[in-house]
Symmetry: C2
Subunit: 287 residues, 2 copies
């Protein structure tokens, strides 16, 4: 199981609605990604919002700065508001990020948990589902073919135009980002059969109830193993820890503990489970 961190880049807003120290918050975020890379976490995700309380309307720009500062950690959106974006631009940006990071980019495509992107980009809320379905379809076509033939309701048709650059990873990983209700979303995933699905994030800031990151290292590791088991085995678990929402020193300390203490315990436990299963399979076979 991969273990990582997702961050919304929250802004501290003054009485007049202006962000206070926005450059410092982004610099602290880069420090957090760098540390997550150093302590061996598997993935770092950055949210996308178009409101004054956030600084992350252009997540690929932030992820590219993170790519230049890190070596191993995978870099992803959390989530790309695909409904409001042009899949051609989204693919170009992530393919560029993939080249800059030597193959560490991933897209988590979602519909966003806020609706402010709709009026900003001239979209209608009644198209909420059809926008997402259509744009996901186009994004996956672009991922599959350099020259794209496609037509739809919400974007100009493509009649064989090439989309460049091509990413290093082929295919570039695309996940579905699910929050709250998963109804039509799960269907889209099932129909296609092969899209990885990311579940709603577990919120480290919720307080003691339901929070996975509260407790000593042993407790946290046990909670993670419990979630893994109750969901039937998951490939990735990310913790929501937002810059500016958590004090910076606490954020860094949480990332450090997660990477150096919690993740190793979870990996060891899962490895022994796998070993035990293999042994039991072997003894069944032998019997």
């Amino acid at each position: 199981m991969q273990i990582g961190v997702d961050s919304f880049v929250a802004a501290t807003v003054d009485a007049a609605g202006r962000a206070v120290n926005p450059a410092r918050h982004l610099s602290e975020l880069l420090e957090a990604v760098t540390l997550a890379d150093e302590v061996g976490l598997d993935v770092f995700g950055i949210g996308e919002h178009h409101r004054r309380e956030f600084l992350d309307s252009a997540p690929t720009v932030i992820l590219a700065a993170a790519a230049a500062r890190t070596r191993r950690i995978r870099l992803t959106s959390a989530v790309t508001v695909l409904s409001a974006a042009d899949p051609v631009r989204v693919f170009q940006e992530f393919a560029t990020l993939d080249l800059l990071s030597n193959g560490r980019a991933e897209i988590v495509a979602g519909r966003g948990s806020f609706i402010e992107a709709f009026p900003l980009f001239g979209l209608e809320l009644e198209d909420y589902d059809s926008l997402f379905a259509e744009k996901l379809d186009l994004l996956l076509k672009i991922r599959e073919h350099t020259h794209v033939y496609w037509s739809g309701k919400h974007r100009a048709a493509l009649t064989g135009q090439g989309v460049y650059p091509r990413p290093l990873q082929n295919p570039l990983p695309v996940w579905l980002g699910v929050g709250g209700t998963t109804g039509s979303f799960t269907e889209i995933g099932r129909e296609r059969g092969w899209l990885p699905m990311t579940r709603a994030h577990f919120d480290a800031q919720l307080g003691p109830t339901g929070a996975l990151l509260v407790g000593d290292v042993e407790t946290v590791a046990e909670k993670i193993l419990h979630v893994n088991e109750s969901l039937g085995g998951i490939s990735r678990l990310t913790f929501q820890m937002s810059v500016a929402a958590l004090p910076h020193a606490k954020l860094l300390r949480a990332i450090e503990l997660l990477g150096t203490r919690v993740a190793p315990r979870v990996r060891t436990a899962l490895a022994s489970e796998t070993a035990a299963e293999l042994l039991s399979t072997d003894s069944h076979r032998a019997a």
Copy 2:
């Protein structure tokens, strides 16, 4: 006068049309920007193209990686194909870049020297001029006001939506990128009175005729001073040196010479000219 480098990120394409070593070319580009920063050049620009011969369809993503590796050099597009872009996204990306770079971002907005962006983004060539004029107008409105009221032909209207994040620099520098004919372009600039104007780049790869970077350090510095004089004094001169089009070692050597030898001579010469003019003004006054 500021002296800098503009780079298109050219791809080396194999017989099947696939880019060879694209990640290496981007990594070499970052090495070039880092060196340009270290040797004290003032600005580095990255082009935007949507063809298989280039890797720079998402210049702000590349510039953000460059921001994470540099300290002083200004970072700009060269040029942002504004006609084919959404000014809201362009502003969001450059504002983010500005925050990541501590106030070193600039937009050079142009119409692009290739037309492949038009069919890719569903635009008509007959709208070439009106697209640019309208989108420049919107970009400047967003720069001026966080909450934007705007309507036009080529994009959904804005009725007071906020565009975030806001950049560190206020105003975020916007230049007009001029190539070839300057007709309607110059008019747009004049109408507004206050937009800086960047002239066509001087191409270091043209060969001996017309190339500013051919010759020894003294000759190159003289050519620059001559261009400056014949154009009536310019605020910035950038040299077009494209990654993958020039051998990497030659590119680095050219950047090093430009920063450590040529730029200091030009600065010294211009400083003595200014001093001489001041003296002559003083003597006129005294007379």
